[in-house]
Point group: C3
Chain length 369, copies 3
């Protein structure tokens, strides 16, 4: 989930909180119903992620702009990160990578495509800043390259290559984190004025939702702590049920990770990007969708690689499967092209959604392992 | 062949109709001269395709703008579709796919490159609508992705993947047809004004060719029926002679399909796109070349997959060979780049032609099978 | 090294000429110290290349604009060409290809990235001509395609393909040289006015360096001959020491070729592109970096293929390794994207440098052979 985008859909989704106890109860009282447990845990994550996001925003308002921006950026995909950490701990590296891939392509194809269709039905042509979009597109290209290179090394380097694989993934992770850190420096400090537009717009959209006064520091921290703890708990349950649930649905674990988990994890982006597009704020809409994909690739993925050194049963590398890489590359290619001209219409949304559907079908049919 | 572009070269090419009886006679009287039969059938297709195109246009004028546009778009590549259907019936899937690949790369490299050189020699810099070109480029990217994905599934999915291959190709074909249908809805109805320029320009260019009054509905239908029947007949002959003719020329069937058949099949586009470029109508020129490639990938290819279910000895999938896919991907990449800046000069045409020559050399040397 | 860019850093680097005798002495007196010989020879090349460049420029001023431009363009990468010829003669095809790859990616990632960071730290946003940059980007794409295609043929064509490999590489080389020749015709004759800006700017920057009166024809030729002979001599030494030096450093020969040799070979571009960026002349900076990469791919590489027919122990083909091709493709992709919007800032430089570091790490770890 992208930074600072959660506050919109929460009030309407809080009833989903009933799935928090439901998931816990199901897991303990009806351990064989893992498909049901999986569904309940998935739905429970959505409102919890919303509360984490809201608490982060209120905290950010208290801590001033610079630190606040950093907080928002860092906790933007916190829920997804926690789910991935839970999967990491169980050594489910395939599921972790699948959910990362799914988040990246889900944001730039499903979320952005949906937003362009929704906005394009109401507005004939929607304008946005072409330089801004292209700048994000280069960052996306960098993200795609960072995923392609370790896999290329793995598949082309021959047997001897395996010896250095973990080392290479670690080093690339450090490069990505440094680049991500510099991009925050860029957007939060040296070139902050580039990005004031979207933030102001977001506030405006949020304003219509009866934005309350900022919470106290204490309340913000408390809510953040409770929501994070609950997300961690439910994530445990979710991850434990992924494989059996996938089997029950007749799907592979990878498909569930790429499509199902990613759709759930991006519910917030989807809703906010859609609303922004409907209100003809395409800069914001694109910023949310593309920004979230960038954050997954340049922040969440390398953090997971580093975390796997101390957390999981064995270190995780950055070697994604070839179908995953292909999916990311084609998504980045078409998203870059669609956003390069500074205007969108519904057919461009249809193009993105078509690619998403085609990729989803491939992952559905792709044999496990 | 692209929509609504045939009327230009017909009067000058009608003498080629002598090759219709020539091909028929050769096939029956001199069955061992299959290289000669192939050449005659190839030449015979050109004027017949022209008559089909002319009949479609006259029909379109009688049926009103909306239905007329649909007719033009649907019958635009009718001759190529008929040739491919004939090859399909004989189970020559390799030749079908080669001719599809050849049409796609021929249009965006040879036709567009030739037009840019021809126009660029007369005009120092030629301007065209960059947003329009980029919108077509995204559609081309989608087309390339649609060809890459099934092959990726085939080569990466392992042995188990084969079981689902036909199903996957079918489903992707449906997605492509839906997307193509939506793109017609876009260009013929919701965003029709985007495209009035080129159509008007085409009329203007055609005007100089002493455009006659529209035919009666009856005459249009009659000419269309006769020309279609003849194309079908000659296509049978052409397809039957492809393999032996290729052997006689010392070429592979794939090379003949990709280069020779595609050049013949795109004679009309080539001539019209060149004329348009010479008259400094680059929007039209690009529209013809790129539009035709899009139509092949998003309409003709999936229709052939669906048709193969009832027509051929076995269903055809969308799994192109890796060299074919590479050719499409690099063509789309350079065409997208060359057209993204809204202006062209002769060197850009040279760039496209260079890539075409390099690809043609590879396909010439590529071992059969 | 790009054309007409050498004059800047010479005066400051002439002290490096001491490494010319040092390299010669080391090679003869201390033959086992090959790592040291390698370092000395590397450093000796830098000022010699500078003198070759300066002589070429003075010669160009004497011979008039058309022929002068041709001279500058042809001798632009003369030092790199001579080093590669020396390696060719010893049959070190892997090192030749590695240094070509390294030059291409070094120029568009390291040189351009460094320039964008240096310039971006001083200037918030730097503008340049987007159409100009995109035109160079298409040429770069053509260059990437020219490297991808022979490798694709090699790896996809099966056993039979090997028979035609040298023939195919030769033919592609001819196509590339013709295209390169036409691009010179374009930039030096038919569309010369497109390029006056950068040339004037270069003069201006050079002006501050107390530009002397042009040398006589005789002096120019003499300096050119002596410098060329010395470069050839030192190149012999350099190339002879590559493999043992690599072993001494614990690196593979390919890594030394791609990273070390390329950095040395591009010292001139690096320095001039950086200076230009600091003075907010991004058009010039991009022209040097990208232009040099284009020249390597479309001129130096095919010349080497042709030269290998008469010079080396066996003909060299254009079949680069898959990691090399991947490196070129991703570099071209991100450079194209970063330069497409007509403005740069320091974060874009960081993006290019990140990709360079990631690629360098991969080549460092990649097992030899």
């Amino acid at each position: 989930m992208g930074r600072a985008v959660k506050s919109l859909l929460k009030p309407r989704l809080d009833w989903l909180l009933v799935f928090v106890p439901a998931a816990v109860l199901l897991e303990h009282l009806w351990p064989e119903a893992q498909a049901l447990t999986f569904v309940a845990a998935s739905l429970a994550i959505i409102p919890l992620a919303g509360w984490m996001g809201r608490a982060t925003e209120h905290l950010a308002e208290r801590t001033g702009e610079g630190l606040g921006g950093l907080l928002n950026a860092t906790f933007g995909n916190a829920a997804e990160l926690i789910i991935a950490l839970a999967a990491l701990q169980r050594g489910l590296h395939d599921v972790v990578k699948a959910s990362l891939t799914g988040s990246i392509i889900g944001n730039i194809l499903l979320v952005l495509g949906g937003a362009m269709v929704a906005g394009g039905v109401r507005h004939k042509v929607q304008k946005f800043s072409a330089p801004g979009a292209r700048s994000q597109a280069s960052m996306l290209t960098l993200a795609a390259i960072a995923l392609v290179v370790p896999a290329a090394y793995h598949y082309l380097g021959g047997r001897e290559a395996f010896l250095h694989e973990t080392g290479l993934s670690l080093e690339i992770s450090v490069v990505l984190l440094v680049t991500y850190g510099l991009s925050l420096l860029f957007s939060l400090r040296t070139h902050r004025h580039f990005f004031t537009g979207p933030a102001a717009e977001l506030g405006e959209i949020e304003g219509r939702e009866a934005h309350a006064a900022p919470w106290s520091l204490r309340k913000s921290l408390l809510v953040l702590a409770v929501a994070t703890a609950l997300v961690a708990w439910v994530s445990e349950i979710l991850v434990g049920a992924v494989e059996p649930a996938a089997k029950a649905f007749g799907m592979t674990g990878v498909f569930v990770g790429i499509i199902v988990v990613a759709i759930i994890g991006n519910a917030a982006e989807h809703s906010t990007a859609l609303l922004a597009a409907l209100r003809n704020r395409m800069d914001l809409s694109i910023g949310i969708a593309v920004g979230s994909s960038i954050q997954i690739a340049l922040f969440v993925a390398p953090v997971l690689v580093l975390a796997s050194l101390v957390l999981g049963p064995k270190p995780m590398d950055l070697v994604f499967t070839l179908p995953e890489i292909l999916a990311v590359v084609v998504s980045v290619a078409i998203a870059g092209q669609v956003t390069s001209d500074g205007e969108s219409h519904w057919l461009e949304g249809v193009q993105l959604l078509s690619v998403y559907v085609i990729l989803a079908m491939v992952f559905y049919f792709l044999p496990a392992g």
